[in-house]
């Protein structure tokens, strides 16, 4: 049940009125039932996986609340992490690691015939396992209180707006909202509906970009350089429109129910360095990786070499989180290297400025550096995107090589469609960037607001392909 389908619209129209009139306890139980039903619509068999993960983490959370012994607390949290990672590892990475091991053995001259399984990836598993793990780790660290109500905790894991593709919430952000009675204001309904509308428009634009991307990536050797460049740029816009659009819809629906989810994107393609990019792109994942991986690894403490090691490990695992493929590892690896290079650059800059007494006012060279750093960051993001999207490493190299060794006609006319969609995306994001907030249009005069809403509706109608493409991040 995708957010942009009539099935979901009917589901929400059935759930929402009841949500608004139900007493708190009934509301929570109903919302949990709706969330489980929502998940079961994908594949009811995986509901048992969700339930197991929920039950294990709930009881470990309860045990952690009463357990004083440090060793036992560590063992408990280890069980929670191991359970979730076992689920994730088996369903997502079993075949990947088996295949990779076979390849490695073959290189060593050993033929192996392991037991390969046709494992289907349960939708949202990467998100809800992280969500559940965050809870037990936070309780273990005494950063969050234990949830004493199973229904509330189960809702925390399964809450349908964020169940299948995030945003991954901090325990302290979501759990208290679910545990206390919820009131919904008309303003929340209005701004939530606007977010949903913006999200649907972004998603429609992303789906329109798909043919450009598919053409470039499905057979890169047959395409001209211009088509490849168009495909690479289109993919950057597609994945942004798709994922940011999904998040907008999730946040909008949630806000209409009086529950705030965190902002997951803040115009990432305006970043001027890779570090800033990760503060603007998939913010909830970046934050999770920082809090539960980077910092426990040592974070910014220790020598520069240790910091660089921590960065690389975090980004490589972050890459692998996205999918069981070496392409994602390469993608994470390049981002890791870019982050390290950025740290070195900052260090050198710091050294250079150390001798000066007062910072100099910005001059023309600074403005040029501003543009250059933005362009360089965008280039890194576009190049890494090739590894993210390509089916194989060879395909990714074929795309990059096809661009570097320029060939084919320079038919600029073929960029017209992409340019049109880029303008449409800019019309959605532009006002937000200008105002620095996602609901900028809510502050406009009502006539202008009305025209903008009509524009968004018409944009959806005009660009929406006939069939609904699944959200790209559902596969992760």
């Amino acid at each position: 049940m995708l957010f942009n389908t009539w099935q979901f619209a009917l589901f929400f129209l059935a759930v929402y009125p009841l949500y608004l009139i139900a007493a708190f306890r009934i509301q929570t139980i109903g919302l949990l039932a709706a969330s489980w039903f929502f998940y079961a619509c994908w594949d009811w068999r995986f509901l048992f996986l969700l339930l197991t993960s929920t039950t294990v983490d709930y009881y470990i959370g309860k045990r952690l609340a009463v357990c004083e012994d440090a060793g036992q607390r560590r063992r408990l949290v280890t069980v929670s992490i191991a359970t979730n990672l076992t689920f994730l590892g088996f369903f997502k990475y079993y075949n990947f690691f088996t295949d990779s091991a076979v390849g490695l053995l073959r290189l060593m001259g050993i033929e192996a015939h392991p037991w390969l399984l046709h494992v289907v990836l349960p939708v949202g598993i990467s998100f809800y396992t992280f969500q559940a793990m965050a809870y037990t780790i936070d309780v273990y660290r005494d950063r969050s209180k234990t949830c004493s109500d199973f229904v509330t905790f189960a809702l925390y894991v399964a809450y349908f707006p964020h169940l299948v593709a995030g945003p991954i919430q901090r325990t302290d952000d979501l759990l208290p909202q679910l545990a206390r009675p919820r009131k919904v204001s008309w303003d929340q309904i209005g701004s939530g509906a606007v977010l949903v509308l913006v999200g649907l428009a972004r998603k429609a634009l992303a789906d329109r970009l798909a043919p450009y991307v598919d053409l470039a990536f499905n057979a890169p050797l047959e395409q001209s350089s211009l088509i490849l460049v168009r495909g690479v740029v289109a993919f950057a816009l597609q994945i942004y429109g798709d994922f940011a659009g999904y998040t907008d819809i999730a946040r909008g629906i949630s806000r209409m129910m009086g529950i705030e989810l965190i902002q997951n994107f803040r115009w990432p393609y305006l970043s001027r360095n890779v570090q800033e990019f990760w503060q603007r792109w998939h913010i909830s994942l970046s934050r999770w990786l920082r809090d539960y991986l980077y910092i426990p690894l040592g974070g910014n403490r220790g020598s520069r070499a240790m910091i660089f090691r921590n960065l690389m490990i975090t980004m490589l695992l972050g890459g692998l989180w996205h999918g069981a493929s070496w392409n994602f590892v390469v993608w994470g690896g390049i981002h890791g290297v870019a982050l390290v290079v950025h740290r070195v650059w900052l260090y050198l800059l710091q050294q250079r400025r150390a001798g000066r007494e007062q910072p100099e006012p910005p001059d023309r060279a600074d403005r040029l550096a501003f543009v250059a750093s933005w362009a360089l960051t965008l280039a890194v993001v576009l190049v890494t995107g090739v590894f993210f999207r390509a089916h194989t490493f060879a395909d990714a190299m074929a795309v990059l090589s096809g661009i570097v060794h320029w060939h084919g006609p320079l038919a600029v006319k073929r960029l017209g469609g992409l340019a049109g969609l880029l303008v449409a995306l800019a019309l959605i994001d532009g006002p937000q960037v200008r105002a620095g907030e996602h609901e900028a249009c809510r502050r406009w005069p009502w006539v202008l607001q009305g025209l903008y809403y009509a524009f968004l509706v018409l944009l959806i109608v005009m660009v929406r392909p006939s069939s609904n493409a699944p959200f790209l991040y559902f596969q992760f």
Partner: protein
Amino acid sequence: MRWFNTNLEGRPPLPKAVLVALATLLVMEFGLARQEWLWTQFGGGGLNAIQSRIDAIVTPSPDPLVVVTGSSRLRIGASPLQIEQALGVPAGSVLNLAVAAGTPFDALTEYRLGRDKLRSATLLVIGLDDFYTNASWGVTLCDRRYATLDERLHDYDPPQVRTLLIGWLWRTCDAQRALQRFLARGGRPMPYHAELEPDRRCRLAEGWDKPATPADEPKLVETLEAFYQNWRPGSGRLRQLRKLAALARSDGLKVLVVCTPLAPRYRQLVHERYPEAEAYFGRCLEQLRAEGLEVLDWRDSTAVGWPPAAFHDYGHPTPLGVTLLSRMLADAAARACPELRRGVTPDPAFRLPAMGPAPADDESDAQ
């Protein structure tokens, strides 16, 4: 335990912005999407092709005898001049109204639009392509423009019914393609014409006369996957075909349903990759026969004696294929309606014409 509570805070504000948005959408709906000129001037694709066939072929025809409808395989493959010569009927009495990606509903629409003239014909040939039993295919602009509410409810497959019902209620959705063209062309109307070859087939694509080679295999596979992707059995297009046949029969025409020959390799691929679809189509043809329709299943090109050189691709004929298909159609027409053999002297000066490029607008608009 309490069951109900009021969870809404405050009084609802007057949604002025929403009212402005609704007003804007209503202006769009009635000022643009429901305007006839938008559809006629910016329809393009199938709509343009259909209207131009009526204006350039049906209207000037003095006395139509054989009417051919269908998709690009017949649009390219059925030469009115060659059929006329083979039958010995007067020039201008065989009309080829087939359009690129033409569905049975396109043919039904053509028949309805030109019914005053076409009802005096003797034979209606309806081309039926195998992939139209794939319910995953989208609806065309022609469906969106001409299908009545009753047809939208009954003559399409379930996903298409939903799309078409939304479009019936909210015409702006139906007019998506026309609106896109209107914007993309800055309000300049689409070219509107039917460019015909000297033998009165429609204009053909560049290079169409070259036979397919083994190197074209990837393209063949691509075409196959485009036709059969997400295959689900559908009977909507067959219901439209039955409707057309019934209408033509009520006007006194004989009806032939024709499945044109397919390249052997393409058929093999269909058989290997989509056996279920192939079997389903076979059952559909049997059902049409059982209902009393004459169905000529020529898909097996070897059985009907076509050499590989007769195919430009999966099913579009080369000039050799055009001659073969036109002859087969003439024979079938004469068998179905013996009165069609008139013995008019053929035009000895007739040669297969040199072909130019097809107009870019005359493409499928299946969405």
